[in-house]
């Protein structure tokens, strides 16, 4: 069993042969980054290994092992943000090494190599492990060591940053029991504290010819065999040291402690210490006396980027699920806390506006004539109606909704009075179902208006187009109708007055009826104040012969008819406009004050 399984170089646990990541620690089974010192020694180690095993290994395996170096590809740093040039250089170096090695290979080996590409790797466990170690990128120049080291540090920083950003990183439900600590960590502690021999079962995983010293793990074994010159602690650049201390709190302690140099000792201890030193130099736990720190470190072990990414994805999926579930529920939004002070202020403002508007209305109605100059559009409207005579017919279109009926009734009243005085024939149509009873409300005010039926024009745009085309000669004349599809709607009206509160409704009339009516007919519009501005271009281009909008213009129209208007309503209207102007001005002043206040505070000594 143990022959088929892969041993993780990090935690020493067994994994399936097909696994690329260790199930226990999550790290890739191939080395993701280079440990300083190992790169330089790997060649020599490999060489030593091969040299030492000259007697024990078959020649075939030795040759295979030598050629494994030339055939391996540079391992890409998946998690590091290495620059392409570094990788390219490494690849180039590997290719160079490969080509050099190829020249010296015997024929029979070349054939075996070709066959190996096709077949499954027949090398045993040992070769695989060695190959795994040898697959570490081999920078040809010393300067690349620094760049790779920095890449490795960057990865640590990245992990640390992810760790700090992730607020919902679930801490283990239970504290990690001592038994589940990685074996390599256990060994480190043990070596530091007691200097005991490693457990027998650890040794049993290794073939005898590998194990020379009583060292705990294969990795340590290989490291322990290293030459003295490679066991010297590698001096970190000051910047690197500084940056490495930006890791989470645990690792800070590691870095502080890791700067201590390993003490030279006896062979075993020396080799173990060298390992610890190397590990300490790069920011991992060296042999530190503080056991509590080690416990803390193993509990908050920095997780790999992939695990963090998976966790963040899981958290976001959960959030999205909550959002979808809460969709449409008012209670979710309503739970936002509101400032009671601002709420009180708003209430005061509302009451102020209400009282200012209501006060003139409560004092009673006084009618009087209000003087002023009408706008050109209102003047044109007045003149157009004044030119109508008793023989003329007018089509009055009620194209507004009940919400605007109060305003439209106020503004349209003088117009209806005017056309009544002119004694023209009126026809009322409406484009809204509610217009049927709105027209009766309209006619009930003002001067006495005879009851007139109001016809409904269905179909919005389509109905308007239908109205504007000539119906004579239509095959539908024989259809039983209640007044819509027969010639009731004679387009030969002398004037069409559109009472509208929406821009779209008025525009439909101007676009679909205006171009098709007789040139002698006038198209007039009484518009709600909210849309009047957008109809001014149509008046300017002579598509509209007159436009009346706004209470003020309506009041002046009334005055022109020699009628009196309600002063109370006008006063209330003016008071309401005034308070809006005051709100705007105060808002501008306070916002300027709010913007300049921090500057004033800064200027203070």
């Amino acid at each position: 069993m143990s022959d088929d399984l892969l041993i993780c170089p990090h935690c020493g646990e067994e994994n399936l042969p097909s696994a690329t990541r260790c199930l226990h620690c999550g790290l890739p089974l191939e080395e993701a980054f280079a440990i300083d010192g190992l790169q330089d020694i790997s060649d020599s180690l490999t060489a030593d290994f091969v040299k030492d095993e000259d007697d024990s290994l078959p020649e075939l395996f030795r040759d295979l092992h030598e050629e494994a170096d030339s055939q391996k590809k540079a391992i890409k740093f998946d998690k590091l943000s290495a620059e392409e040039s570094t990788a390219d250089e490494v690849e180039q170096n590997d290719a160079k090494e490969g080509s050099q090695a190829e020249e010296s290979t015997p024929e029979w080996l070349k054939k075996i190599r070709q066959r190996a590409k096709v077949e499954e790797d027949s090398s045993g466990d040992l070769i695989k492990k060695v190959n795994a170690r040898d697959d570490i990128p081999q920078p040809s120049e010393p300067s690349q060591v620094d760049s790779e080291f920095e890449d490795w540090l960057r990865q640590i920083r990245l992990n640390a940053r992810r760790d700090s950003i992730q607020p919902h990183v679930d801490e283990p439900q239970e504290p990690v029991p001592v038994e589940e600590t990685p074996s390599w960590l256990k060994k480190l502690r043990e070596m530091k504290e007691t200097g005991e021999e490693p457990e027998a079962e650890e040794k049993e995983t290794l073939p005898e010819w590998v194990k020379e010293d009583q060292v705990s793990s294969p990795s340590e074994n290989l490291l322990a065999k290293g030459h003295p010159e490679h066991t010297q602690p590698i001096q970190l650049t000051p910047g690197a040291t500084k940056e490495s201390t930006q890791a989470p709190g645990n690792l800070n302690k590691v870095d502080e402690a890791g700067s201590e140099q390993a003490k030279p000792g006896k062979d075993q201890e020396e080799q173990g210490d060298n390992l610890q030193t190397i590990i300490g130099q790069v920011g991992f736990t060296p042999g530190i006396e503080d056991r509590a720190f080690l416990d803390e470190f193993e509990q908050e072990r920095p997780e790999t980027a992939d695990l963090l990414l998976l966790r963040s994805q899981r958290d976001r999926a959960k959030e999205l699920k909550d959002m979808v579930e809460n969709e449409g529920k008012a209670g979710v939004l309503g739970k936002q806390p509101k400032n009671p002070r601002s709420k009180f202020f708003l209430l005061v403002l509302y009451l102020l506006v209400l009282s200012v508007v209501a006060l003139p209305l409560l004092t009673g109605f006084i009618d009087s004539k209000i003087n002023g100059t009408m706008q050109p559009s209102s003047l044109a409207f007045f003149e157009s109606i004044s030119q109508l005579s008793a023989e003329d017919s007018v089509l009055v279109v009620i194209d507004y909704q009940p919400g605007s009926s109060a305003e439209m009734a106020l503004i349209s009243r003088p117009v209806l009075d005017h056309i009544t005085r002119q004694e023209v024939e009126k026809t009322f149509i409406t484009t809204y179902p509610e217009g049927v009873w709105l027209s009766s409300q309209l006619m009930s005010h003002g001067e006495s208006q005879p009851e007139t039926d109001t016809y409904y024009l269905p179909g919005a745009k389509i109905g308007l187009m239908n109205l504007s085309i000539d119906m004579s000669g239509s095959p539908l004349n024989g259809v039983v109708s209640s007044g819509f599809f027969d010639n009731q709607y004679d387009i030969e009206y002398d004037s069409i007055i559109i009472l509208t509160d929406s821009f779209n409704g008025g525009r439909n009339w101007l676009e679909l009826v205006g171009p098709f009516i007789s040139r002698d007919a006038s198209l007039l519009m009484v518009a709600s104040t909210q849309e009047a501005t957008m109809f001014l271009p149509y008046f300017d281009s002579a598509q509209l012969d007159g436009l009346l909008a706004g209470l003020n213009e309506s009041t002046l129209y009334n005055t022109a008819l020699d009628n009196s208007s309600s002063t109370s309503i006008n006063k209330s209207y003016q008071a309401g406009l005034l308070i809006m102007v005051a709100c705007f001005v105060i808002g501008i002043i306070t916002s300027i004050g709010a913007k300049t206040r921090p500057e004033l505070q800064e200027d203070k000594p």
Binding site: G372, P458, I469, G473, L536, N570, V581
Partner: protein, 204 residues
């Protein structure tokens, strides 16, 4: 297949209507027929929309979803007004009076509520938004037109002032014309896209 049929119907109808409007004397009967059909189908579409609305609210009541009481109000209101209209007739003065007594105050009140909301908005506008040419010109223009709407300046009767007021009231025409042309071009493009089958707002 259904998709192609829909596209063909839309394109054919559109081209036919445009041709009939351009060649009105010859194609007037066809145009009026198509438009009449369109009115009937459009009215039915509005009815189906209302039916789906009521069905949605009914389903909420049947399931007992949170807030189903308001759906009950909708269905109740719909039932009373629909049954009253069908039984008494929509032209019945009593029926119209009752409908108007509910719809008028509600709709007018909603618009009246806007007054108070806009008053507070005007107060907080520049505290919440940054200063830009758009916001500054908006604020100044709103204040000027609110003052002009009061009518005090027009009541003074000064001819020079009247000319200035007339000029100020014409300035929005420039921006309004730009907006109209922009909207018109956009609507034109959308209409052409529907007629060539690129845009399919009918659910395909």
């Amino acid at each position: 297949m259904k998709r192609i049929v829909s596209i063909v119907i839309a394109i054919t109808t559109g081209i036919l209507v445009i041709s009939a409007i351009i060649f009105r004397p010859q194609l007037n009967p066809i145009l009026s027929l198509i438009l009449r059909w369109g009115i009937l189908i459009g009215s039915t579409a509005a009815l189906v929309g209302i039916a789906i609305l009521i069905k949605t609210h009914y389903q909420r009541i049947a399931v007992g979803k949170r807030g189903f009481f308001f759906s009950l109000i909708v269905v109740f209101g719909f039932g009373i007004s629909f049954l009253g209209g069908m039984l008494l007739g929509v032209d019945n003065p009593g029926y119209q009076k009752w409908i108007s007594s509910i719809q008028l105050p509600l709709e007018i009140s909603f618009l009246g509520l806007l007054t108070l909301i806009l008053a507070t908005t005007g107060f907080r506008l520049y505290r919440l938004r940054s200063w830009s040419p758009l916001s500054i010109s908006f604020g100044i223009s709103a204040i000027v037109f609110l003052i002009l709407a009061m009518g005090y300046l027009q009541a003074l009767g000064d001819s020079r002032l009247d000319k200035i007021i007339e000029f100020i009231q014409r300035i929005p025409i420039a921006g309004g014309r730009g907006i109209l042309i922009g909207m018109g071009l956009g609507a034109l493009v959308i209409g052409i896209r529907v007629l060539i089958g690129v845009e399919r707002p009918y659910g395909e």
